[in-house]
Structures are given as C-alpha cells and as structure tokens.
C-alpha cells in the first residue's frame, strides 16, 4: 500500500473515531452532570 493510501485510510479511521465518539456521547451522556455547577437547589 502506498503512502497516500495509508494517509487516506488513517484520515478515514480518525474521522470515524471522532464521529462515533460524538454519537455515543450524545446518546449516553446524562443531561444533569454539569461538572461543578454551584447552583443551589432546595428540594
């Protein structure tokens, strides 16, 4: 496999990684975890 093919393969793999993480996070991230919010709640 020549270098250009390798680079295309790498770019496609990276893109797949970035997109798949995005969708998995969107689907599974709990909406309430806001990492350190200090908003006071009562009840």
């Amino acid at each position: 496999m020549n270098t250009i093919n390798k680079r295309i393969l790498l770019a496609v793999f990276l893109l797949a990684l970035i997109v798949s993480v995005y969708f998995i996070v969107q689907k599974n991230r709990p909406p309430v975890l806001d990492n350190g919010s200090t908003k006071v709640y009562m009840h």
Binding site: L17, V25, P30, V32, L33, N35
Partner: protein, 536 residues
Amino acid sequence: MQASLSLTLNQKIMANLLQNAGVNPAHKFARLSLLSVFLTATATTIHHVYKLGPPALILGFVIIVFPIIFLLWFRNTKKGLPLLLYGLMNLWIISGFGVADGFWDSVVKIYFSNFLFRDSRLFIRTPVRSYFFELTGVLAFFASMFAAYYGYKFFNAVFSQRQEWKAWNHRVKWIIGSLVIAGVLLAGYSGYKHTVIIPENKIVKIGVIVPATGPGKILGTSFLKAVELASEDVKNKNTKYQYQIVIENSGITPAETEQAIERLIYKEQVQGIVGGISASGKIVKPYATSAKIPHLCVCSVKTIGDGKYNFTNIPTAEDEAIQWVEEAQKRGIKSIAIINQKYPSIEGHVRALKEESVKAGIKILYEKEFEESARDFTQMIAEAKNNLPDIYFISGFPPVLDTLGVQLKRSGVNNVASIVALSVSNKPELFEGNWYTDSYVDSSFKARFEQKYPGTRFATHMMPYAYDSFIIMVQAFESGKDPAEYIQNITEYPGTSGRLTKETGKGNFRSRPAVWVIKNGKPELLHENENKIAIK
C-alpha cells in the same frame, strides 16, 4: 501560557528535526516517535484539564517538553542516559496515559460500556462526560499506539547501529511481552472483580445519600433516622448477609452531590443506594446506572425511575392529585383558586391537580405563581377572593409559605388546602383546620419513632418511604438474585407507607397518599382506617 510556550518550542524543534532529515532510519523513526509522543501528550493534557483543571497544564508541560529535551540530548551526545530517560518517558506516556487512561478508561467506556456490551458487568465505568473529554481520551490511546510502534522502531534502529547495544533488541522484546501479559492479566482481574455482586466478607454496603445541610436538612435527618430504624430491624433478623450503612451528605449543589456519590461508589464501593430528594436523585441516577447497582430514590420526579437500576418510591404528583380531588369531591368543592410558589416539584403538583380537577369537573377560577422572594400577597389574595372559590389551594416552602399563611388569615381566608406543603410549614398553627394530602404513615411506625426520638421534629413526608426502600434493598440482596433484577420484578410491597405497587419493569413505585388535617397545630391523619385497609 505554559502550554502555548511548549507548543512553540516543540514546533521549532520539530522543524529543526525535519530540516536535518536524512535516510538514517534512526533519525526517521526518532522524528515519528517524537511526533506521536507529542500528539499523545497533547491529547492527554486536554483530557486531564477536564479532570483536574489548570494544574493539568503542569503535567502537560512535563510530558510534552521532557521527551524533546531527552531526544535532543541523545542526538548531541549519543550517550545511554538520555536514551534511557527518553525510553522511560515513552513507557510512562504510552502505558500510563495511552493505555491505562486512554484505553482502559475512555475507549472501554465509550465503545464497550456504552455501545457494544451495555449490560455486561465486565465493563463498569464512570458515567459518560463531555464530548471533548471523552474524545481526547480516545485520541490519546490512538496516538499512543503510534508512539509505541515508532518508539519500538526507533530503539530497534539505534540498538542495531551500536555493536555494544545490539543485545538490547532481544531484551526489549521480552520486556514489552511481559508488560503486555501483566496488563492483560490485571485488566482481566479488574473486570472479573466487578462481576462479583456480594463481597467475599458477606458485608453488603448500602449507601445513603441525603442532604444533611441547607434547606433540606430536616428532611434529610428524618430520612436518616428512618433508615437507621430499618437497619436495626434488619440486624434483629436472621439474614444471610450483614448490611452496613454508609452515609453521605448530598449537600446543596450538584457539585457536592457528585462528590458525595463518587465517594460512595468509587471509594466505599457500595452495592446499593438509597437516596432522597429529586434534585440529587437526578445526579445519582447516571452513576448508579454506570456502576450497575440498584438505586431506590425517595423522590417525586418520575423520570429518575428508569426501571433498570433506578426506582422512585414516593407518591407521584398524579397520585397526590387523584387523592386531593377525591377528598375535594367528598367535601362538595366545585371551584378552586391556586396560589403557588414557582418551583419544579410544586409546579408538578399543580399541573397534575389541574388535570385531575378538569376530569372531575372542578373549575379553576384563579391561578397565580409567586417567587421565593415574594412578601406581599394582598393583591393576589384580593383577586382570588373576587372569584369566590370554594377553596384556596396554596403551595410553597417556608418562610414564604408562612408569610402567605399570615396574610390569608388576615384577609379572612380560612378555607385552605394543599399537597404536602402544609407539612413543612414552620408555623402549622396558621393553617389550623386546613387539609392536605401527604405520605401515609402507619400509626405504629409513627409511635415507634416518637418513642425512640421523643421531642424531635420529623418531616414525615419521606420517612416511611425511606424505611421501606431500605428493607426492599435488603430483600433484594437476600433473594440471591441480581438485586437490580429482583427490584425490577417487584409488583407489590406491603410497607409502612401503605401498599406500594409497581408495574413489572417500570421504575416508579406507586402508593396512595393520605389526607391530613392540622389539628391543635399538629398534622393528624384524617382517614387512618382507610389506609390501614390499603396495606392489606
């Protein structure tokens, strides 16, 4: 600042290295090794900024700059020490940040725990956080694999060029092989440990998470007393396992609740959670799901109960409204004026009340919300009075609730009713003769409390549910099945809070609240007998 300095420095060095590019494989792989180490270090630094905040930049500075220094030092001197230091830096960055952190935490969490093997106990991880946090973890692993490959190639080339170092090529293979085998064994053991539900010492830890400070303090301390009573009752029985309560204060902010639940799950390693208050229950929910442990929450927000690991146990707003409208009909009420504080749980009650009232043909003649800071209700009361309602439905938290109570009394309004609110008033005498719906409390259960803690004021709103939730949790572990699965399949439970029902697989225990009246300044059950029958 440090990060940008190190970036500029690195760019200059990388350019210099590229200028000196030659055909020597050691040079070629040195560049590629350094580039991939740099990318791994950059990704893991961003990842750690999310985790640790700005101090992570110091770590970033170390892992980005030191490999460059060691490699330049080696290029200029060709000595063994800088090469060894560069090798150790590689080992630290690849195994620590690439594999242990990037793969074992982020990659396994994203692709195994949340995509491929959602129900497996082998891949228990923390809840998913922000996109960039997770992505940088995954990318750190990805880049570290290149760092490992080119690092190996670089060392291989260097060792091959020096007669006295040639033997190291063989040794490096053995070192890498041993490390991989040790890593796989460790990972396998760690995964296996999560599949064991009951610890070897047969002591089941149950985390109890409620507020011990702030406005929810009285609810929280009453809740704890109820759980302690349940725990004492369990100790007096012949159970298969011992049950240990681990208490954490959920505090008054989401950040405090997150810290509390993280301590319970990751430090104390509790096997189940009993909690109270919807606001903190919402935060506990994803942690319980990720840890795959049952969570019984005495909270009214229905969505917390997913029917898998999370369950709510208190009358829903609909249950309260049905009971309220039933009582209103018995009293011949045909119209209502609603004055309530703007607050999520109160708004939920009001919404359900309006729906049930419409069904029963009760008219809503007036409706007004007020803020927590409101102090003057004269205009609101006058407007409501003009509509001549049969009853005034009010709701709020003290002190604003009591201010409203004073002004209603002053205006000659005595026909007041509510859902729950009157039970939390600091001046119940203001509402003498008024009625409201709230949790049913078995009279013998109440008597036990009064005997055990004489003279202490309790918020009965959550107590019977806290007691019942702890007992349900114990029964789940005693069943010998997966405790979450056991709770999923419960459809009926006779508790101190009356008869609890739940549809199989659903996440909300339903129960019938009771009607209370304020008599001689104290809440009193109106229909004790009806609810007693309900238990059986």
